[in-house]
Structure formats: structure tokens, C-alpha cells
Symmetry: C2
DNA sequence: CTCATTTATTAGGCATGCCTAACAACATAG
DNA sequence: CTATGTTGTTAGGCATGCCTAATAAATGAG
């Protein structure tokens, strides 16, 4: 019954992440995220459904409880790997995603626990996303995208929903990282950029980017 | 021209290790070490020869220069992984082989360097085997097996050529680890055991095991 | 409502790596 | 020298995961 390959783990991980954003996960969005052709994904979807890891109705792809459990384990290993890479090996937050994406499939439960312990059981990855605990319990803070703030409102960055190294590097130069306080100075109309103030400096920030920065 | 899969890396790594011991590496020994069927190995051998990674004459399998270069890279990653596992994550030396054998294929050149730096560029793995440097240079100390020592001779353990966790655990309880001084008290005749003295205690040690412990 | 685009699936392949069964080649013990 | 066991290879398969081309189904703009 159990037969989890790295590829299956990777699909479940992606489905989980996509579910976070917009609810119905489609074949095409999944194919795009995984950088695979739609037929490849279509085929795997059928297999995952056969293994009772997802349900595949007309309204999209959904993880089953079993699928969600596995996805959270993969995500735990991914995020712990990221922390290992930044906190112990000195990587920057924009360098860790791809590396962690490989490591997550090569880590035993024992190593997972040792990493967690060695790091003092961290609660989040370097991008601010919560790390599911050993039992799959995931504490999600109530957040909203920076793009929803009105002029003069401020918030503390909780997480940055972005994987692209270039973008992460850019955000780091602006100081837009978890735990940092941002104030919205101005919101340009017609979907224009936000003017934000971060530790004394002002920057113009596109709506697209701002929507990926979650604040509380 | 380049097309290195984890499996190819694993084969080259095994061939390299087997070459260290007895010279002519045979299909069957390789199959046994890799825990694969002889036909599977036979097939891969042909492929590796086609990629100019090994030469396959009647007198056995030999790594080419190119093959040796790749093998040493894999071994560097393996041994650095072992050090990471023991020195930073708190694993014991008997718990790291299998784990490292997976990690070695999931580590980028950048991560390899970061691990090495973070550990202070270690020269050996926890079992005392030398870690090839960035450029593949490998410093091999002149050693001889403990089993070749005569009564009253002593030596310092350099390395332990053993992968089996049970055996490593056993050796650790006796204190037979790198940098430890051993004195041979007695050598039983007809291939019998050695009586050795390690930090004040005496133990009987089979020839087989003793031959895997290298001293200087 | 209809035609065109987007989205999903089928069909047919291919590469990688593994397996078992059968056979060939060789060594060597009797 | 022959029978036997060891070693290696061929032949034929299978599972996994990916691809392109073609087709079907759904959507939505005019
Ligand atoms: Mn991943
Ligand atoms: Mn992250
Ligand atoms: Mn290995
Ligand atoms: Mn080692």
C-alpha cells in the first residue's frame, strides 16, 4: 500500500502549496509549478488518486487526509533543511529553496529529528512559513497580504510567499524579511504600486510582489 | 557527454572502494556490494564503459581517470556528509553510513563547500578515511592492518574499513576508533584471534575484524 | 449560439534501472 | 578428461516517469 517515491512526495508537496493560495488546484497550474508537461501530470494525478493520496473531482485536485499527512512531512523536511542551510551552513535565504527541494527526499526520520533538535526546534523556515511539528501539527498565524493594507497602516512581516531566488535577493536588499515592520505610505490607484517604509527607507513595491508578503 | 545519475555515482563510488581492497574488481563482487543482481551490474558496466568512466578488460573493472575523478567527488560528499552528521547533528559513527549514502547524491557543489568550511575543512571522515579535497587530491597515509602486528607491537588507529553498523557499534564499545593507541599483547596461532590492549583493557579480536582496522 | 481558445486526456514512445531464466565460458577436483 | 560449480552475459520483462502529437471537453467573447 505504501510506495512513496521522491516524485510522489514532490507532487504532494506542490499540491499542498498550491492549495494554500487559490483553492482549486488544476492540472495545468500543477504542471507549471512542477515544470512538467500537462500529460505527465495528468498521468501522475491518476496514479495519486489510485493510491488515495488525492481526490480528483471536477472542481480540482484535493489532498486526502493521507495525502495531506505525507505532504506535511515533506514540507517539514523541506523547511528544516532550509533552516539547516541558513542557520548552520551560512546560506542566504535566496539560495536554499532548490537545495532543500533535493534534500527533503534524502532525509530519514532520524535525521529530521536531529536537525530539528540541533536548531532548537525552529517554528518557521527562513521565509517565515511554519514548520509542521513531528506529528504534523501546523500552526498557521492569521495574516494578510501587504497589498491589502491601506495608506498609513503598518504590519510586521510574517512570511514571504516566493521561491524565485532573484526576487528573494531583491526583497532582502530592501530589508523585506520576516519580523521586519513595514508601513504603507501610499497606495497608488488603479492597481499601481505601494509606497512602503522599511526601517527608515521608502520603496515603491508592485502589487504582485506585495501580495506575496504576508503581514500581521 | 555528461550525464551523471545518482546510480552512476553509486556504481563509481563502489568500484573505487572495492579497488582499494583487492585490485581486480569483478562483476560479482560489485553486485554483492551494491546488493544488485549480476545481470543488472553487467548491463550498467557496459554503459559505464561506453561513457568512458571505466575500462572493462578480462582482468577486471578499472576506473578511468574521468571515472576516478567523479568517484572521488562522490566520496568527498559522502565523507563530508558523515562529518556533518556526527559533528553537527550528533549522530554516532555507526549511524551515518546509510544516511550519507543518500545525502551524497543530493548535495550541490556549493553545499559541499559550505559543509567543508563550517566543519573547518576536516581531513577525514568519522571512520578515519581521508576526504578528497576540492580538487580531488586525496592524501593517503601509509598504514597497515592491525592483524599484521606481532605481539608487543603497537600502533595508532588511523581508520576502520567497515560499514556494518553492528560491527562499528561493537568496535566503539571497545574504544577501537581513530587516533586511539592499540597494543597487540598476543597473537594466537593458526589464524586465531589477537589479544589487544586498548586504554588499559584487554580484548580478544578476530583476525577478520583486525584486518579492517588500519594502524600506523 | 457559435467559433476560437484554453484545459485536460489519450495514445504511443522513450530512457533508466532493475529483475529472472537461460546459456556460455572457464576453472578445477576427482 | 569429464563433471561440477562459479562467473558473466543474453534475452526478455517490468515499473517508473517523462515526452510529443492528437483529440476531446469546457469556456467565453462576439
Ligand atoms: Mn520539493
Ligand atoms: Mn521556505
Ligand atoms: Mn553511496
Ligand atoms: Mn566513513
Amino acid at each position: 500500500m505504501e510506495a512513496d517515491t521522491p516524485r510522489i512526495e514532490e507532487y504532494l508537496e506542490s499540491i499542498y502549496k498550491l492549495q494554500q493560495e487559490k483553492h482549486p488546484v488544476s492540472t495545468s497550474r500543477l504542471a507549471e509549478h512542477l515544470k512538467l508537461s500537462p500529460p505527465s501530470v495528468s498521468e501522475m494525478i491518476r496514479k495519486l488518486a489510485g493510491k488515495d493520496l488525492i481526490s480528483h473531482s471536477e472542481k480540482g485536485i484535493c489532498l486526502t487526509e493521507h495525502g495531506k499527512t505525507i505532504a506535511k512531512k515533506v514540507i517539514r523536511r523541506h523547511r528544516l533543511s532550509e533552516r539547516l542551510l541558513t542557520d548552520i551552513l551560512g546560506f542566504k535565504w535566496d539560495e536554499v529553496h532548490e537545495e532543500a527541494c533535493r534534500l527533503e527526499h534524502a532525509i530519514s526520520p532520524e535525521m529530521e529529528e536531529r536537525i530539528s533538535e540541533s536548531l532548537g526546534n525552529p517554528k518557521t523556515c527562513p521565509h517565515g512559513h511554519p514548520i509542521p511539528d513531528k506529528d504534523g501539527v501546523l500552526i498557521t498565524e492569521k495574516v494578510r497580504p501587504l497589498s491589502e493594507l491601506k495608506a498609513a497602516q503598518k504590519g510586521i512581516i510574517v512570511s514571504v510567499f516566493e521561491e524565485d531566488p532573484k526576487m528573494l535577493q531583491y526583497l532582502a536588499t530592501l530589508g523585506l524579511m520576516p519580523d521586519v515592520c513595514v508601513r504603507v505610505e501610499e497606495v497608488a490607484p488603479f492597481g499601481g504600486p505601494l509606497i512602503v517604509c522599511v526601517s527608515g527607507s521608502r520603496y515603491a513595491l508592485g502589487r504582485e510582489v506585495a501580495s506575496k508578503i504576508k503581514v500581521k
